[in-house]
């Protein structure tokens, strides 16, 4: 009896943990999308490409400049975020007065261009990026499973960054400006706040979050131009389920759906690839604004 249960657990635990690690990425990526959408009203289809850029910049920093993982974790989001700022200033900012659809089309085009450039430069087979050996100290090695320390770190880092982002948005003055400008940008600007600059920095921050997730992902997945595209489809489903623009919703939904995917892999593997989209369809039919969305 007990042995049976142990065996079941042994089978289930790694999948559930894998689900949690995926959930960590879903949460970070959908958080960035939610922040950008809330403030700019732009669905940032380049998010996956910016995630991939984060991983590539980490790889370049190590291979070309000898800057290790920890440096990349700070530098890559800054560099890719700065790239985001440039894109917002030169392109996206011109589209605010037009329909949402234009922002979506522009960022979708940008994603294709960025991925194309990286495929041209680095091929599509993928580059290895080894996690620092120090993470072995976090290895979890118990009878029912072995969990590499690096994956433990990914979950911790994601939870910490999501929490910090939430705190900044809900509890600080900057966050109050952000929430207010999300509701009535025109009035906030008429109070003397430079809202266009806030929008630029918000886009940069959302892009930096994607790049941070990309650096976290580099040691787990091979660094390749398609890595973002693979993720982003599921992440958009997460965003739809959580509710477009909801900060808390995207984090909770991200982790939750990662777990559900993991459980599906144990109990009904055939559904593991589609369960998220089935949930998305159900949510869209019953609560079109999403689980945490307003309206």
């Amino acid at each position: 009896m007990i042995e049976n249960l142990l065996f079941e657990l042994e089978m289930a635990a790694p999948q559930v943990i894998l689900g949690l690690v995926n959930g960590a990425f879903y949460a970070l990526l959908s958080l960035g999308l939610a922040i950008i959408f809330g403030m700019l009203n732009v669905i940032n289809f380049a998010h996956g490409a910016q995630f991939m850029m984060g991983a590539f910049v980490a790889w370049m920093l190590l291979a070309w400049a000898g800057i290790p993982y920890w440096g990349a974790l700070i530098l890559a989001p800054l560099l890719v975020g700065a790239f985001g700022v440039l894109i917002e200033r030169t392109m996206i900012a011109r589209l605010y007065k037009l329909d949402h659809l234009y922002g979506l089309l522009l960022t979708f085009g940008l994603a294709l261009i960025i991925e194309g450039i990286f495929r041209n430069g680095f091929g599509s087979s993928g580059l290895p990026y080894a996690p620092p050996a120090a993470f072995n100290a976090l290895n979890i090695d118990i009878p029912i499973m072995f969990l590499p320390g690096y994956r433990v770190w990914v979950v911790i880092a994601s939870v910490l960054v999501c929490l910090a982002t939430w705190l900044v948005i809900e509890k600080t003055k900057i966050g109050a400006y952000l929430r207010a400008a999300t509701e009535r940008p025109e009035l906030v600007q008429a109070f003397g706040v430079n809202v266009p600059r806030m929008m630029t920095l918000t886009y940069g921050a959302g892009v930096a979050l994607a790049a941070f997730a990309g650096v976290l992902a580099a040691p787990i997945y091979s660094v390749n131009p398609a890595m973002g595209a693979n993720f982003i489809i599921t992440v958009f489903a997460v965003v739809v389920i959580g509710g477009m623009g909801s900060i808390m919703g995207s984090v909770v939904t991200g982790f939750g759906l990662g777990l559900i995917e993991g459980l599906a892999r144990v109990f009904y593997p055939e559904a593991s690839a589609t369960v998220v989209f089935v949930i998305m369809a159900i949510v869209l039919l019953t609560r079109p604004a999403g689980l945490f969305g307003r309206g």
Binding site: R184, E186, A190
Partner: protein, 247 residues
């Protein structure tokens, strides 16, 4: 000479000219809503803009704040031309705006709403002064802004622009939709801020309320200023005003 410039100022306006609007025109997209508005306000005055629905009162305030699609003409505040400025820079010259729909933020609590507008100059009211004028705001500090009653939301919308150090306040129909006792409180509050040297441009449809607070009244029709009445001449001009306002 311009129409507004030829109008004589009553004895009440002792201060210097703080605002001079000349031939202001404004458009929302293709629709042309202001057709040459001219008016003057002296430092320390409370001046109203009266007029029927759709006369262009809100549009005049929005045009002053740079919140219309396009505008032309001249708006000089403290001698400085603001017609070409972006709305955040207009605010930073010392003008604060309280919109008709009040603009209380649902995702901010009362204190966050109150503290949101950045301080742009010294000389604004301190928090303790604001809580003396508006005791309810202190009691409801942690409530979401939109959970307040209509009257409290109006108080909050005015209170938050008193903090910023702006010298000219644009108030769009603060009495609209409120119970008479709340309207009286708002009247008392406007007299209190006038006492402190603020200049107020007040949009109103209710001239019974307007006459309890204002020094002068401009009347708008079809996107133009059509008349100006000093408050002490109001009684003798009632017939004329009734006609303008359709009351």
């Amino acid at each position: 000479m311009h129409e507004a410039a030829t109008m004589t100022h009553p004895a009440t306006g002792q201060g210097h000219l703080i605002l001079e609007i000349r031939d202001l025109e404004a458009w929302y997209g293709e629709s042309h809503v202001l057709h040459g508005v001219s008016l003057d306000i002296r430092q320390g005055e409370v001046v109203t803009l009266l007029g029927r629905n759709g006369a262009g009162k809100t549009s005049t305030l929005r045009a002053m704040m740079g919140l219309v699609g396009r505008r032309a003409g001249s708006i000089k505040f403290e001698g400085r031309e603001t017609i070409g400025l972006r709305s955040d820079l207009i605010a930073r010259t010392g003008i604060a705006y309280c919109p008709e729909e009040r603009g209380i933020f649902a995702s901010l609590d009362v204190t966050e709403n109150l503290m949101l507008p950045p301080v742009i100059a010294p000389g604004g009211l301190g928090l303790d002064e604001i809580y003396t004028l508006f005791p309810n705001l202190k009691e409801r500090a942690r409530s979401p802004g939109t959970k307040l009653s209509g009257g409290e939301q109006q108080m909050l919308a005015i209170a938050r622009i008193l903090r910023t150090g702006a010298r000219l306040l644009l108030l769009d129909e603060p009495s609209e939709g409120l119970a008479p006792v709340i309207v009286q409180q708002i009247g008392a509050m406007i007299r209190a801020i006038k006492q402190r040297g603020f200049t107020v441009l007040l949009v109103e449809q209710n001239f019974r309320f307007a006459q309890t607070v204002a020094d002068r009244h401009y009347v708008m029709e079809h996107g133009r200023i059509v008349d100006m009445v000093a408050n002490e001449d109001l009684a003798s001009s009632l017939d004329r005003l009734h006609e303008y306002l359709g009351v």
